[in-house]
């Protein structure tokens, strides 16, 4: 599969990093049935924004990230990246599964992107060490991915993505398989990284709580075929407090939205 680069460039706005215009995508399964994964997606994401996507399973969230990454192409509509975001160099993707290369030790996994750019061995191992320290994995440079716990693996995957210094970071349920306390630690870490690095993040999650803790905006998807039910902006100060009334209200509101689509 070739990585397709969306030719459309956004002109006229230097605020928008990524934009979906009337995007639709469907699949034909091997048995021949047609599945509409996404319909009528219109979405503009600003530079530096942290956008979370929630929705029922199978509603097309992964598909949307794949389109943004250029791994997949839309059936209709167009996806455009800002001029200053090179689709090959500036977009990193933390996948839902198999987030690390199993044949490389942790430090080489993190250094992989830099190696592809021809950075010298010494420099990239140094950089990888720094990043591992930032994500709390100091001392695990020489470990193999299979020797890490689930939470450590996700930390390593984040370090691996950050190594190429992305302007746009796509994350597909990165904390989905973790227990709640590890999950909260990683949420805090990611929030801090976003604050310090000013990158644009598109983050898929099943947890409405997580979406509200992290996002500037929560995009709520309908059940399949995925359409945008609501583009919910969050104006709560950070760090977000779960005990806050406003937080709880918004949580219940989104729960309600999603419940309505489950008849």
């Amino acid at each position: 599969m070739k990585m397709k680069i969306t030719p459309n460039k956004i002109v006229g706005s230097d605020r928008i990093a990524l934009s979906f215009n009337d995007v639709g995508k469907g699949y034909t399964s091997d048995s021949g049935t047609q599945v509409a994964a996404l319909q009528n997606i219109n979405l503009q994401i600003d530079h530096g924004q942290f956008v979370t996507l929630v929705g029922a399973t199978g509603c097309g969230k992964t598909t949307l990230l794949n389109l943004a990454a250029g791994i997949d192409t839309p059936a209709i509509g167009a996806i455009s990246l800002a001029e200053d975001i090179c689709p090959k160099r500036d977009v990193a993707y933390v996948f839902q599964h198999y987030t690390l290369l199993p044949w490389l030790k942790v430090e080489h996994n993190v250094a992989f992107g830099l190696k592809m750019r021809g950075i010298s061995r010494k420099q990239r191992i140094n950089a990888s060490g720094d990043l591992l320290e930032q994500v709390g994995l100091k001392g695990y440079e020489k470990a193999w991915p299979h020797e890490l716990s689930g939470g450590m693996r996700q930390r390593a995957a984040i370090a691996q993505a950050l190594a190429i210094n992305p302007k746009l970071l796509l994350m597909d349920e990165p904390f989905g398989a973790l227990d709640s306390s590890t999950r909260r630690d990683l949420q805090t870490m990611l929030g801090n990284l976003h604050r310090d690095r000013k990158m644009t993040i598109l983050f898929v999650t099943h947890s409405i709580d997580e979406a509200l803790i992290l996002g500037d905006r929560v995009i709520v998807f309908s059940e399949q075929p995925g359409r945008i039910l609501e583009d919910h902006k969050i104006f709560l100060p950070r760090p977000r407090m779960r005990s806050d009334d406003a937080f709880t209200r918004q949580l219940l509101h989104i729960y309600g939205l999603l419940a309505e689509t489950h008849p």
Partner: protein, 285 residues
């Protein structure tokens, strides 16, 4: 229940130790006694006569060199043929495994040629390459080195013997690489050549290794048979038929032991070399 399982374990351990000691020893004793009773060493030599041959690996036989020198010549031939087959098989295998149209284009031909026994190629190869050696490749008739002993025809059949197992396993290994790893590589900025080297190759390495092991075992079988062909005057397979023609059955059996041991040694060696590279296998997370 517990008692039963322990008993079973104990029994298994005992059998394993016996398999390595008592059974071989018993067979050797039966061999020795019956050979002594038969008294026809040119037909069925005693264990001791075979051992005498084995502990004199440097003794010259029929002015054709010693056990050791002929074994080394055979190993050298196999190594050269095997290494070229590996390079060609792995490179073409990765290409065919990752580029679908190339696979469709070449696979029918591979499937037609592959079942043909490598040995069946030998008369053809000798006719084409005559008895030219590696030295001729470098423009010399004789280099007075081991290169004089490496006939191109023989290399060709070893190549054929090793190439197909490596090719097939590499194709399967590469075609089975998780799409995720390729996407991950691409998202981290790897171009096609880098994906080839840094994703397909390592991800398919466990399968490639399986191919290499099969291939090396096959090459070793092929060389013995190839060296038995007319016109060849060196190598352990040559010495084997020469000894048989001279009714030196003790030498024949000694050579059989050597061939078996080298075969096992090669297989172990390649596993040992490759083990660090595939330690991750089966641990994907």
């Amino acid at each position: 229940m517990h008692y039963l399982r322990n008993n079973k374990h104990y029994l298994h351990g005992l059998m394993r130790r016996m398999g390595w000691t008592a059974i071989p020893l018993l067979l050797l004793i039966i061999w020795q006694v019956s050979a002594m009773r038969l008294g026809k060493p040119w037909l069925f030599p005693t264990v001791t006569r075979v051992l005498v041959q084995l502990v004199h690996p440097l003794r010259d036989h029929y002015a054709s060199g010693s056990l050791l020198s002929n074994a080394l010549i055979s190993i050298f031939r196999v190594v050269i043929g095997f290494v070229t087959a590996s390079l060609a098989g792995i490179i073409l295998g990765i290409l065919m495994g990752s580029v679908r149209w190339l696979r469709s284009l070449l696979e029918p031909m591979v499937e037609i040629i592959r079942p043909l026994s490598p040995i069946a190629w030998l008369p053809f190869a000798i006719a084409v390459f005559k008895l030219n050696t590696l030295s001729h490749l470098f423009g010399l008739d004789y280099s007075r080195t081991i290169l004089d002993q490496v006939q191109l025809g023989m290399l060709f059949v070893i190549f054929v013997g090793g190439f197909f197992p490596i090719l097939i396993n590499t194709i399967d290994g590469v075609a089975g690489v998780r799409q995720n790893y390729i996407l991950l590589g691409r998202s981290l900025g790897a171009n096609s050549a880098q994906i080839f080297i840094h994703v397909y190759l390592p991800a398919a390495l466990p399968m490639i290794l399986t191919g290499l092991r099969h291939a090396l075992a096959r090459c070793w079988m092929v060389i013995i048979a190839a060296e038995m062909m007319a016109g060849i005057d060196s190598g352990i397979g040559y010495l084997l038929v020469y000894a048989a023609d001279n009714a030196a059955m003790d030498l024949v059996i000694a050579i059989m032991v050597i061939i078996g041991t080298i075969g096992a040694g090669l297989s172990y060696f390649i596993r040992w070399i490759m083990r660090p590279f595939i330690r991750w296998h089966g641990q994907e997370v």
